[in-house]
Symmetry: C2
Subunit: 413 residues, 2 copies
């Protein structure tokens, strides 16, 4: 008799975004003509940079010629891509990261989930609250938690609240935690981390032999030169952090699929059995990827490589400026309408306090019904997100402007 992984049955309702889709779908069944504007899921809307498109067309041309045809590539990704990442994203910022420490993948969602494969089941795991749901759900699926309570909090996880009360910066845990998820610029709150704040986490992790999972998917939105783009800008991070990066939000690859994980060779985990021998996490991740993954499409890797050409860089900067201007508009309009608004400066997300004490989902429904605008309820990101709401800057200027006008008309105090 084949048995299932019973931990899946602990998962609460649907994953956040499918639940949003369901509610929107239900609404549209009775309001088919409603001029819906979607500022919910953080999905890009603008065309793929021309440099990336041209590189992919050329790569397809390679596939027409048996001498240039590419079959299985290295599971870790082509070195020509990894070397550009190492030079541009790390070495140019003084980070001691080599191309051999970069693993190309098809997405940070996959990587942040799959990374748990190489860790033991004994670890105490800390997440911020609110948090990107994938971090929590993949731990539930791996059996690292007990059941959830009514607030959706899973027994066994250490939740570190991030709210307006602590400026959306989690207080360092007083107890011991072994694996720590940090995301900066933050999804969903749009907060960023100073060098000093990241240094405090690195110091904690080194002292406790913990590993930080640092999700930097939104680093391209940092405009303040004082804010680190990578955890490896912090001394000591090579010995305590794995970093996740993506081409989804800088170059608009959400539908094209390319990302990467950085696992420094100096990074060690311990065997759980008495004696606690140190084992290279780079080596384990390399084994995991070469056994359970077959590399990213050659065509897509060529597209990602083009991000590092002068044209690609200029085009990516154009996209970032565009979405940041949307974020600025959202901040200003909502502030004028009387909302308490956070984030949206070095990040594509604006995080707001729901008005009149409305719950996150009630505000979601009201915004959908009255303004025909879709956002993301803060409570979908965790119990401490209740009473907050995320507005994404990923949309056209027209849609953002129109959505802000509608919200202002409905809610202006």
């Amino acid at each position: 008799m084949a048995t299932i992984n019973e931990h899946y049955l602990k998962l609460k309702a649907g994953y956040l975004f499918p639940e949003i889709s369901r509610r929107v779908h239900t609404f549209l069944e009775t309001h088919a003509d409603a001029p819906l504007i979607r500022l919910g899921i953080g999905d890009v809307t603008e065309p793929l940079p021309a440099a990336c498109r041209q590189a992919m067309v050329a790569a397809i041309e390679d596939m027409s010629d048996r001498d240039r045809f590419k079959g299985y590539g290295p599971e870790q990704g082509y070195s020509w891509l990894r070397e550009k990442i190492a030079a541009h994203d790390y070495q140019s910022r003084g980070c001691d990261i080599d191309a051999s420490e970069i693993f190309i993948s098809d997405g940070s969602k996959c990587d942040t989930g799959n990374i748990l494969d190489i860790f033991g089941n004994e670890n105490t795991i800390a997440v911020t609250d609110p948090v990107y749901p994938v971090y929590v759900d993949t731990n539930v699926m791996a059996g690292h938690t007990g059941p959830a309570n009514d607030l959706g909090e899973y027994a066994g996880l250490v939740y570190l609240p991030i709210t307006a009360n602590n400026q959306f910066q989690a207080t360092l845990p007083t107890q011991n935690v072994d694996l720590i998820y940090l995301c900066f610029p933050n999804n969903p709150t749009g907060a960023v981390a100073t060098r000093e704040y990241l240094q405090a986490w690195v110091t904690y992790a080194l002292a406790h032999q913990s590993i930080i999972f640092f999700d930097a998917a939104y680093e391209a939105f940092i405009t303040d030169p004082a804010i680190p783009h990578s955890i490896y800008e912090i001394p000591g991070a090579r010995d305590c952090a794995i970093e996740f990066r993506s081409f989804s939000k800088n170059a608009g690859f959400t539908g094209t699929r390319c990302a990467f994980t950085v696992a420094p060779k100096s990074l060690m985990g311990m065997t759980p059995t008495p004696g606690h021998e140190a084992v290279s996490l780079w080596h384990l991740w390399q084994r995991r990827q070469s056994t359970k993954f077959n590399g990213v499409s050659y065509i897509v890797q060529r597209g990602a490589e083009a991000v590092y050409t002068p044209e690609g860089q200029a085009q990516v900067q154009g996209l970032i400026r565009f979405y940041l201007e949307n974020a600025r508009l959202i901040r200003e309009e909502l502030t004028q309408a009387g909302f308490a608004v956070y984030g949206g400066v070095n990040a594509p997300y604006v995080w707001l306090k729901t008005p009149e004490g409305l719950s996150s989902w009630d505000f979601f429904d009201e915004l959908l019904q009255t303004c025909h605008v879709v956002g993301t309820p803060g409570s979908g990101f965790g119990a401490a997100g209740e009473g907050y709401f995320r507005i994404s800057a990923f949309n056209s200027r027209e849609n953002v402007t129109e959505a802000m006008q509608r919200i202002t008309q409905c809610f202006a105090s």
Copy 2:
């Protein structure tokens, strides 16, 4: 203190193909000019079908226009691709498979590894011996085995030998097994399964409430009309089998990356706790994929869709005929040279008995040193593969002909 998944430390040496790479690399260090012919890894060599290339170029053009731009797609894959698969690969053969039961992915290697996520740790697992190493290694990594013995056999797995003695058809287990990996046309032996043989497995699985993992990555090479292409051609299979398919070997997508898994909605697994409630495996896999995966590149899915156009079908058939003609040449030449040869008729792999009682790795080294031909040692696929050797038909006609001449000269008896 972050602990690691200690099960990884049970893995024997490297994954087979990295070990081959290592030996070839070492050889080339002292024989830089050796005219090496690689018939080792089962990687395609011929250009990507023009229909697929044209469709991908058009998809890239879509990405240049914000109205046609594609961001995040459905995690399960676009319905226009799933519907064509369901109609062409299943319904046309009388298989009761719906588009909603198909999950598009970036590779069968990933899928056959990831599928274990949704199953419990209590299952008894059966693999053939020899077998595609990913099935075994992913079970080791998931903690489903004890340590390996000197032959590389892991405690806790049920090995079903497939050798010339049983015509490479595993005898059904006498004990209870819960999860069963079957691969037809077989990698590495090139054997195929008759309808009657598959029916015996389905009957076994239904009787034991087992689940069959049916890897049909090589189905396109079946030319005998009596041989099933899908397990779902067998009555009852909807209730006991998950099927894995790929565009890698039919349309040459090894470097382009697209595959799919079929999980029928009628398929159930049981909770491990007393009472044993039935849970939909489709639902668990859907949850797994929507939480840990973000879909395949839109561009690549458009390329896969083109496989189902009349031009795409003709071009794929041309590729299949080409590689099968290579396989025929390999079979004939090696037979004339005195080798005992198997497979290579409805499959792109020829499986031979090593001469003079040489071990598989000794024959590998001899072939490399004397003929400058790379193959795959049978023992790399399992203990019962010792004394066998795999030759892949994936190469140019010139290279196959040249390799056979060299082998014939060295080994002709």
